[in-house]
């Protein structure tokens, strides 16, 4: 597997440099304020637009507005798993430490987003179907995704050796990635098998444009927010893992002094 790294052309220096935790730490300090500002602005726009200005739904009234949080959260939860798995794969193939740190940082963020999606789904379910929890295909898939995240996190913390923890979690994340389409399709099929009489969730393309636009804005905002959260968490992870090196010690003493 390490031979793959020989295929990297030498002018991809930025890729190799990105592999240095110290470089990433210092560079991300410059990106962070702009990203945070962008995330804040986009989220604020989306929220205000969706919660206040978008038209009411014919059947559900105002309660449908929770989708402006539910759908982006669900989207990011799924994407977040793939991001985590890709980070793990990069770490396994190119043996980059920073990749493993990103993978570890991505896990709790993704799990939290999955939980938010489930929670907002329940909040939406009460006025719509009269029950907080309904076993429909999407919610069940979300729940299984939460378990997949929990597995990766549990494996990370089970190992004392950081190297073993990283590699094992990366392998598990990849196994989970292969399984996610299988699980989603199986659960979809299972749901159609039993066909309880409930209202189908509004699917995005059949929504009216006036409702759809703020949703798009919210999705972009959530992506930006995810990026900020991931960078912050990765920076913490870098400090934690590199705490014995001289540059981190200098950073700590400089902070303490000033």
């Amino acid at each position: 597997m390490s031979r793959l790294s020989n295929w990297l052309p030498t002018n991809w220096q930025w890729f190799n440099r990105l592999g240095s935790p110290r470089w990433f730490y210092h560079r991300s300090e410059r990106w962070l304020p702009w990203l945070s500002l962008a995330a804040l602005l986009v989220l604020a726009t989306g929220l205000v637009w969706g919660l206040a200005f978008a038209p009411e739904d014919a059947k559900q009234g105002n309660s449908f507005r929770i989708i402006y949080i539910h759908v982006p959260a669900a989207f990011l939860a799924q994407s977040g798993y793939f991001i985590m798995a890709i980070a793990g794969a990069i770490g396994l193939i190119w043996k980059m430490k920073i990749s493993y740190m990103v993978m570890k940082a991505a896990a709790p963020i993704g799990a939290a987003l999955t939980f938010i999606a489930l929670f907002t789904g329940a909040v939406w379910g009460k006025p719509t179907w009269g029950a907080y929890w309904v076993w429909d295909a999407r919610i069940t898939s979300m729940l299984i995704l939460l378990f997949l995240y929990a597995g990766v996190m549990a494996l990370q913390y089970a190992y004392h050796s950081v190297d073993a923890a990283s590699k094992a979690s990366a392998i598990l994340a990849l196994v989970g990635t292969v399984n996610i389409p299988i699980i989603n399709k199986s659960v979809d099929w299972w749901y159609t098998l039993h066909q309880p009489a409930t209202i189908k969730l509004t699917s995005a393309p059949s929504m009216h444009m006036d409702m759809f636009m703020p949703l798009l804005v919210m999705i972009v905002g959530f992506y930006l927010f995810y990026a900020v959260a991931l960078i912050l968490h990765t920076r913490n992870e870098i400090l934690r893992r590199e705490r014995k090196t001289s540059w981190v010690r200098e950073l700590a003493t400089a902070k303490a002094r000033g």
Binding site: S2, V162, D163, R241, K244, T245, S246
Partner: protein, 213 residues
């Protein structure tokens, strides 16, 4: 033409969890030689042997078998190698004979010596039918050592092979090693024991320099 040594190690270093176990280890072993790895407890003797077997991957450095990197000739290298680690890999629920039979079945090459003969030579003559949970740790070690008699491999990697065995066993093992290198094989072993062998070289494993970043 100078033939490449059986095993050559260049500038080997191993790092785990940001601490460097050892670095800049280089040596070569040719057929007919015994290399004893010495070092304090925790200096990485077991890790070095595991690196030689390909079980672990080095952080820096190259290991070559007959001049070729072991990652490129894995099958040939592993077929020509015998490794006995800390644990003797003896299943407690099987008898000594069954254990040895399985070890031979999974090995690449073997001598014509029969399993019963091998067990007799290591001093487990009457014990071939008894399950191994009834045997002592020293007897388990002897079952593992019986592999040495059956195997045809040229390179032997032995991690603390003298633990748990008595004086008779020590003498037997030393004569075994001597015969093996006389036939053209090579041995790399780690032990604290003082060996009385000809063709013996020692390599001292030093702790690594502190990592500066």
């Amino acid at each position: 033409m100078l033939q490449a040594p059986l095993l050559s190690v260049e500038n080997l270093a191993f790092e785990r969890d940001d601490s460097c176990l050892f670095s800049a280890v280089s040596f070569a072993v040719d057929s007919g030689e015994i290399l004893q790895i010495e070092g304090a407890n925790g200096s990485g003797k077991t890790t070095l042997l595991r690196l030689l077997t390909g079980f672990l991957e080095p952080s820096v450095g190259a290991i070559a078998y007959l001049g070729r990197a072991i990652s490129k000739c894995r099958y040939d290298y592993l077929s020509d190698m015998l490794y006995i680690g800390h644990q003797p890999a003896v299943k407690l629920n099987l008898s000594a004979e069954e254990n040895l039979r399985w070890m031979v079945a999974t090995a690449a090459q073997s001598n014509d010596i029969s399993i019963v003969d091998a067990l007799t030579q290591v001093g487990l003559a009457g014990y071939s039918d008894i399950p191994c949970y009834a045997l002592s740790a020293g007897q388990h070690r002897r079952v593992a050592l019986a592999r040495l008699l059956i195997s045809n491999a040229r390179l032997w990697y032995l991690d603390e092979p003298f633990t748990s065995i008595d004086k008779q066993g020590v003498e037997f093992l030393q004569s075994c090693l001597q015969q093996h290198v006389a036939r053209g094989g090579a041995v790399v072993l780690s032990t604290h024991q003082d060996l009385e062998l000809t063709n013996l070289r020692k390599h001292r494993l030093l702790p690594a320099v502190e990592r500066v970043s």
